[in-house]
Symmetry: C2
Subunit: 363 residues, 2 copies
Amino acid sequence: MRTLDDLETPAVLVDTTVLERNVSRMAEWARTAGVRLRPHAKTHKTAQIARLQVAAGAVGLSVAKTGEAEAFAAAGFTDLFVAYPVVGADKARRLLALQDEARLAVGVDSVEGALSLAAVFAEAGRTLDVVLKIDTGLHRVGVLPEAAPETARRIADLRGLRLVGIFTHAGHAYAGETPAEVARTARAEGGQMAEVAERLRGLGLSMDVVSVGSTPTAREGMTVAGITECRPGNYVFHDATQVSLGTCALEDCALRILATVVSVPAPDRAVLDAGSKTVSSDPLRPRPGGHGFVLGTRSRLEKLSEEHGVVRVEEGDRFRVGDRVFVLPNHACVVANLHDRLYAVRGDEVLEEWPVIARGRVQ
Amino acid sequence: MRTLDDLETPAVLVDTTVLERNVSRMAEWARTAGVRLRPHAKTHKTAQIARLQVAAGAVGLSVAKTGEAEAFAAAGFTDLFVAYPVVGADKARRLLALQDEARLAVGVDSVEGALSLAAVFAEAGRTLDVVLKIDTGLHRVGVLPEAAPETARRIADLRGLRLVGIFTHAGHAYAGETPAEVARTARAEGGQMAEVAERLRGLGLSMDVVSVGSTPTAREGMTVAGITECRPGNYVFHDATQVSLGTCALEDCALRILATVVSVPAPDRAVLDAGSKTVSSDPLRPRPGGHGFVLGTRSRLEKLSEEHGVVRVEEGDRFRVGDRVFVLPNHACVVANLHDRLYAVRGDEVLEEWPVIARGRVQ
């Protein structure tokens, strides 16, 4: 039996018991709410976890980039939504080729962007399903609800595309100071989406997909009348940010980093072999608070260099050179992307190595 | 001829003209100062750039982790220094195997850590060169100058190890508000190191290596009497942080990211297909100031999600969906680590793809 003692550090561990519980729970919520679950695979980028999600009832996967869609199609997944405003003829040609392998849809948020896809598909005599991104408050990409009818109408008119619905991502929920505030954001997101969908249906547009996303807003958002699909990603792992937001408890976190104490240069400072190239430099949300929790202690990663995780040692905690510790990172999605493999574990046992098949597929 | 127009985005470009100039200039400074140049390869992690450095006169490479040493040894580099406090029997066994391929030295900063290496080498009847890390003000790892004699003496006594010198990294120079302040840090670092080396020689210890590092402090630090080696890394590329520190001019930056504008949802907001998984979430130093400069404009990346780079569009700048732009990242070292390949370019021509052979080698 291979155990944690056999692993070199730093190593990214996934507790399969917690993972499976997280996957089932979200699937159950979606079933109860009567919405299709299309989890965002950017979080884990691994075929094994995506298979668990589909086995639990997911209708397909969401991905962030065309390259991620290619990686999951190659692994046998046949229903993929690129939840991103894809732009350009080069990407369109890759999507055209990918249509032979999977049922595809992609995001759009502008007529110009949609045109760049439409041109390629129309010329090939083919049709691509597109979903219009709505900005429900994050103010990143997407059209505002009031502008949706005009943009939707113009995109629906383009030969080579079929507009099948709308989607949004309430990423601003991550600024929520309390779980109640996060829940309010979720209901507001769902309400806006249902309203926009009704207006677009009034214009004669088909709205098969009315899709909301994000782990903190998923449970509440999917219960709003009119929502047909939900795209949470992070829930498979959770992380220090989800704990801080109140989305989950510490024991719901499936991803941890096994690290070694390589230096204890001062009584209040210990240094781990896990720096920003292992845990990423993403800040804790909703409020800054270091770069990761050292589990079983009151101490946190206070500063990071690329290969150094500097722990501020709190009173009562003890770190010795050579000790192995577990770190809960701020943001699990970016951690998976930094590593070639995740170690699937149960207790101390290492069950399997899962290759991160869509790592680095930013194109 | 393959040109930039043939590349998908986002793509990491290296301007070979600027790269070669940066490599020659640092080599010339080292020659003039009479110190050995051992550049830190963690910045680029590519064999092609390391070969340029060696061809220009570098005596060997510095790397950050045992896995990086293995990657560069496999690529034919035979003089490697793991500039990191390596700890543990598993790493020691890998270093033992690696000694068959390359002249090796590794960092140590504690007796406990050194013991974990010594045990393996002594048992094999072999000797590993070790270099003691000194904390000259960064307060990350390393022993303070006043503690160096005691730690050095105890490590030098361990069978299986040979203490060959001391090294430091003045990373605190990155907080320097002015070039003059950075230069003062460099001189202070060099002065402390020369003093520590003299005290250790007084104890009968050999001090062949008295090594300083960091790109902003390199030129000044290597001129301090008593310094024998310098380990800058970032200088091959430079980045927005080096420009902000005054270490270099904008035209000395060799690494840029080619990105596409995928959305312009508001007059003051444009979104690029390059987010934290492409440019990293490392902050600008010495003062925060966004996540990267959009070259040829006054605009910067203001916010990042994983695949979205949100540009705050400044007055007079114009971004249209489908436009391609160049981004200068805050921190080039972490960018190389996020990608499988760098595109070597000259003007608009794409000359070669360079695999990032030591990417993700955190163990």
